[in-house]
Symmetry: C2
Subunit: 246 residues, 2 copies
């Protein structure tokens, strides 16, 4: 399983993804699900969950198109984030169709071979943007009022985001909430695992300077996780008592 | 969807279930998923998630067997919680088989018609106990180290339990954690809804005195939910700052 999360607040964007891949609990591996690109007037982060072979093939094709001199389209030639999403949707469909079994329906094929992608970033002169590309190749924008997108194992880490992430949430708090969302998910589900690839993107600074790979024993993550556990413990003791308690 | 939760700590048992039933988001209903029984030397609580017709038929059969004078087995005749679990498993299979389509495999039939049950309580002279009955009719005990059982929409409300519920957790804290688990689930998933049927059972007191039906605007639940929201908000501000924050 996989967990990827992206947040869009007024001050910027936050991206995080785990690195555990598995084909069964007795066969786990580690592979980054984050693709970053930052050249010239643009910076993008792409996250993926689903069929790992499809996801890897898409990332490989993105790289090939960037290296080739005669690409019709690549990340540099996209006019906006929507164009990036269309481009990734198109490659994703192409890669799935290579392995499509003609005796299967498209639905069956997508459920076996499909991947979701989160695409976010900014091109100079435009606003930051964040979208999710479906395995079918089309995409949706992040919601205005609940400005985050999750893919993969999304449920364990959603309550903290529902409580904390709003358009006006400061970028630092958003980044901490993202890590807490991963902390909760990793505590409850062994198929989501470290390290966490983590990028924080300040609006209008077209760079990915705040990029990190956090392990469970990274000092920052360890401190965050242990202070959070203490805080929750004291929070529960601040709650009202039942009338049947002495 | 449904969410039911039972906790077994050293001091006793906690049971909670939501009341939303649905056959689609445009057709929601409310129905209690909790069955309680407290006569003489025994007190039981039964919770259910799955096919509502099967669940209702099981509860109805339990009542019929209690009222009938010539039942071979009923809740009064069970020697221990294991016998209650076997009895419920047996009725559950019987009710499913009434509607079993012979062209379907047992797996298909169970996934359409099956229900899970949580059974807990105490018979005087025995220890309190807690088990989960599968749609196939067999059952498992609650785990020693993570002493809670969830059925239905379990993921949103699991992180808080993973952090807080251990064998030595006081009964009051366990009951508060149960309500927080419901609070998180209801905030993240519209298919889990109030009122919450709620029972707290002190070890060796063979009664269900602490039984309540909590609505969202019940004073206790409202206070708990709002203090928790405040506490989380201040907890996140106690976390370490990133070096890129001013």
């Amino acid at each position: 399983m996989t967990y990827c999360l992206a947040i869009k607040v007024e001050e910027g964007l936050v991206f995080a993804s785990d690195s555990r891949t598995n084909a069964g609990l007795d066969n786990i591996g580690s592979y980054t699900k984050m693709f970053t690109y930052n050249i010239g007037d643009r910076a993008f982060v792409i996250l993926t969950a689903g069929n790992l072979a499809t996801s890897q093939a898409v990332y490989h094709q993105i790289e090939k198109d960037l290296e080739s001199n005669d690409s019709e389209i690549n990340l540099n030639l996209c006019q906006d984030i929507e164009a990036v999403a269309d481009y990734i949707g198109k490659i994703s469909i192409e890669q799935q169709s290579k392995n499509h079994d003609p005796t299967e329906t498209i639905d069956q094929s997508i459920s076996l071979l499909g991947s979701h992608f989160i695409v976010g970033g900014q091109i100079k002169g435009q606003d930051p943007n964040l979208v999710m590309v479906y395995p079918e190749g089309n995409f949706i924008y992040v919601a205005d009022e609940t400005p985050f997108i999750q893919i993969g194992e999304t449920k364990y880490g959603k309550p903290i985001l529902d409580r904390m992430i709003f358009p006006h949430t400061p970028l630092g708090d958003s980044a901490r909430a993202a890590l807490l969302s991963f902390d909760s998910t990793m505590k409850s589900d062994l198929t989501v695992g470290p390290p966490i690839d983590f990028v924080v993107f300040k609006k209008d600074q077209i760079n990915l300077n705040f990029q990190d790979q956090l392990k469970l024993d990274s000092p920052f993550f360890k401190e965050l996780s242990s202070i959070w556990a203490e805080q929750l413990d004291s929070a529960i003791h601040a709650l009202p008592k039942f009338n049947w308690e002495e």
